[in-house]
Amino acid sequence: MQHGKYRFIIGFLVAPMTLYVVFVIWPFIQSIYYSFTDWTGLSPDFKMVGFDNYTKMLDDDIFWKSLQHSVLLAVLLPLVTLGLALFFAFMLNVGGRRTKGAAVSGVRGSGFYKIAYFFPQVLSIAIVAILFQFAFDPAQGMINGTLKAVGFDDVPDWLGDPKLALWVIMAVLVWCTTGFFVVLFSAGMASIPKDFYEAALLDGASRITTFFRITLPLLWDTVQSGWVYMGILALGAEGFAIVHIMSVGPGGPDYSTTVLPLYVYQSAFRDGQAGYATTIGVALLIVTLAFAAIVMRVGRRERLEF
């Protein structure tokens, strides 16, 4: 039966590989090619310019600022989001008061919370951005309204303040992504055998100990893929959408919220410099790949079988 095995395998792989090459690999190659041209994006004639776009990019302050913000998002967002999600998921599944009959259970009302946490995930990112834009409106927004009602007179400008704007953006991103990971981690925790907890509790382990000694190690694979996924979200589409819709300018005030994908978008579609935009896109690709590689590398652990 050995004979013809490879033909059989190849037969199965041809279709998906072709799709992958045409729709994923090929655009990558193309954009790398365009990054060496002066293509405007508005006309079919352009010429090769060698490394001009790359030297321009390295001299571009705004590029460095965008890179800095993108990297900050990619580092901080997964940390905060996954941390919160792990905490919530633990509370929902294991953190409850001990009841008769079950070794571990979630806090009271955990069924309701699970659904409530998932709600932001149902809303489109654009709607989330617009809703929060209203909430953070300095004059009539809900947040400043609440602050004023409890007696703060000197309310902040939020998105209008370069010191706060990026943090506001991050808070919104955390709000709309945490729920998904709560559900993901809940599913992961449900598959951890209850006997482990029982044994640990019999030995007198506290909740914190059970979390760090049992839950987290057994959930590590899920956390790691969540980490990569969240980082890519922060570097890519979600980060772009929130900044583009919510921030001053967008990207402001005074470049305090600009991120790489926004800069790609502005160069390509506002400034008519598609060649330069693809150059920044290539830089973004490198950052994303580096991020995924680092997370995979750092997070590598022995897999536990259970």
Partner: protein, 481 residues
């Protein structure tokens, strides 16, 4: 195999080498053309429709049976005016198939078609997704509209279309010499917009000098009303009243030098004086609190509800906020107040210029049809339809008789009359979009008006941005003719 090339399999022969490199070349060449053909498209075919017969009624020689495609920006002005004009075209050329579409996403819809060489025949290239005009002109993607301008107008065959336009419209469509690439259809009056009713309540008239302006703001502040607000999220609205203010103080040459990206253009004393005057609004607390975080609708809303007296804006604000501007608001526009008696231009100097840029692409199949549609739009009847539908003036000089003008429009017409020839037309916003909006607007003026940068720092920053733009060879540069 070839006995002369690789004898006794001694390795790679010369002929083999040539053969193989030729084969490689055969693979490589189509790959390259495939590579370049993909996203950027080819140049398209250049097949235009046949010309029709030129006649008195049809000076542009439109082929009455050729199809016509129009794409309109569906924004603050709506599409009704364009549909009305399209119906006239259909009536004039009943055999023509007219495809009409409206979108807010001009660039997403049309950029691929420009790249593919199959653009529509007439486009209203407007809105947030406007395609960069400098690039379109620089890459020769547009049709010269001179034949349209020299054609007789619909209403009076003795006059050419050119003669029926408002001042500045033709010049705005020129980029580098005589050809006119763009037909700006709307005519926008920029300035300081306010409610006459709100001023009446303060026993005030529109302040003609800056000292009066400050005094009025102080008076308003005592009653808990802010003097000014502006769209803090889009601080490039500030120039709508600031640029004519600079022009008024230092003369048109200062604005032209700024547009031409001349070195030290921003270091002119007139710029400094104007910036310092505006900065004083912040320093004295006359700007509505929270303004730096408000978008255009937010700031306009606060202003319409009487929380602030003045807002730098354009004449579209009347239509945009029609739903919330109260009936007794008496919307009016003011020209920049005089700074002092040494101002170069008199009070009344105002910024007015074309909006809604219509273009006929170079590769349009039916460019004569596109221009004919513009000629129809520039008739008195179409212009009236535009004005009554949008509460805005059109590029057609006149067209306001016999229709009731709204408050804002009426005050705009009055302001233009008062200005006479003192109409300034700064071009940064159409020539260098990034410089105007992101750099001067958000990064410099936005920071200054929020009190985070002094006028001197702001001028230095803007001059650096302008110098960088002047040096950047990847953007096309323009000059006032």
């Amino acid at each position: 195999m070839g006995s002369t090339s690789a004898q006794n399999n001694e390795g790679l022969g010369r002929r083999d080498l040539i053969k193989r490199s030729a084969a490689l070349g055969l693979i490589a060449v189509p790959t390259m053309s495939f590579l370049s053909a993909c996203a950027s498209g080819d140049s398209g075919t250049d097949d235009k429709v046949e010309k029709g017969e030129k006649s008195e009624k049809n000076p542009l020689a439109v082929n009455g049976s050729a199809p016509l495609e129009i794409v309109i920006f569906d924004g603050g002005f709506g599409t009704k005016y364009a549909e009305d004009a399209r119906d006239v075209y259909k009536k004039t050329y009943p055999e023509a198939q007219v495809k009409f579409s409206a979108t807010q996403k001009i660039q997403s819809v049309l950029q691929p078609r420009f790249n593919g060489g199959t653009p529509p025949d007439l486009i209203d290239n407007s809105g947030a997704q406007q395609m960069d005009m400098g690039v379109l002109v620089g890459k020769k993607q547009l049709t010269d509209l001179t034949p349209l301008l020299d054609a007789p107008s619909i209403d009076d065959p003795a006059k050419t279309v050119r003669d029926t336009l408002r001042p500045g419209i033709v010049e705005m469509g020129q980029f580098d010499g005589d050809p006119v690439w763009i037909m700006y259809y709307a005519y926008t009056v920029y300035g300081v917009w306010y409610s006459q009713t709100a001023l009446d309540k303060l026993d005030a008239t529109y302040p003609e000098t800056w000292d009066e302006m400050l005094a009025l703001c102080a008076k308003a502040k005592k009653q808990g009303i802010a003097g000014w607000t502006y769209p803090g999220k889009h601080p490039y609205y500030i120039p709508f009243s600031l640029y004519p203010f600079i022009g008024k103080i230092g003369g048109v040459e200062v604005l032209n030098a700024i547009d031409n990206l001349e070195p030290k253009a921003w270091e002119h004393p007139a710029v400094k004086a104007a910036f310092e005057a505006y900065y004083e609004l912040f320093a004295k607390g006359y700007i509505l609190k929270g303004t730096p975080g408000l978008d255009h609708r937010g700031s306009q809303g606060a202003w319409a509800r009487g929380k602030a007296l003045f807002i730098p804006n354009g004449s579209w604000v009347e239509n945009e906020e029609a739903a919330i501007i109260p009936k007794d608001f008496k919307l009016s526009v003011g020209a920049p107040s005089s700074l002092d008696s040494s101002d170069k231009l008199p009070f009344g100097t105002i910024w007015a210029s074309g909006g809604e840029p219509f273009i006929v692409p170079a590769k349009a199949k039916n460019p004569a049809g596109g221009m004919e549609q513009l000629r129809i739009m520039l008739s008195e009847a179409s212009s009236k339809s535009f004005t009554s539908n949008t509460k805005s003036l059109s590029a057609f000089n006149g067209g306001t008789d016999g229709i009731t003008l709204s408050d804002g429009l009426q005050s705009g017409v009055a302001a233009l009359e008062k200005a006479g020839t003192n109409v300034v037309n700064p071009r940064l916003q159409d020539w260098y979009v990034k410089l105007q909006k992101e750099q001067i607007g958000v990064a410099a003026l936005g920071e200054m008006m929020a009190g985070r940068a002094t006028p001197a720092e702001t001028i230095k920053k803007i001059q650096a941005f302008a110098d960088a733009a002047a040096k950047d060879q990847s953007i096309k540069h323009f000059r006032h003719q």
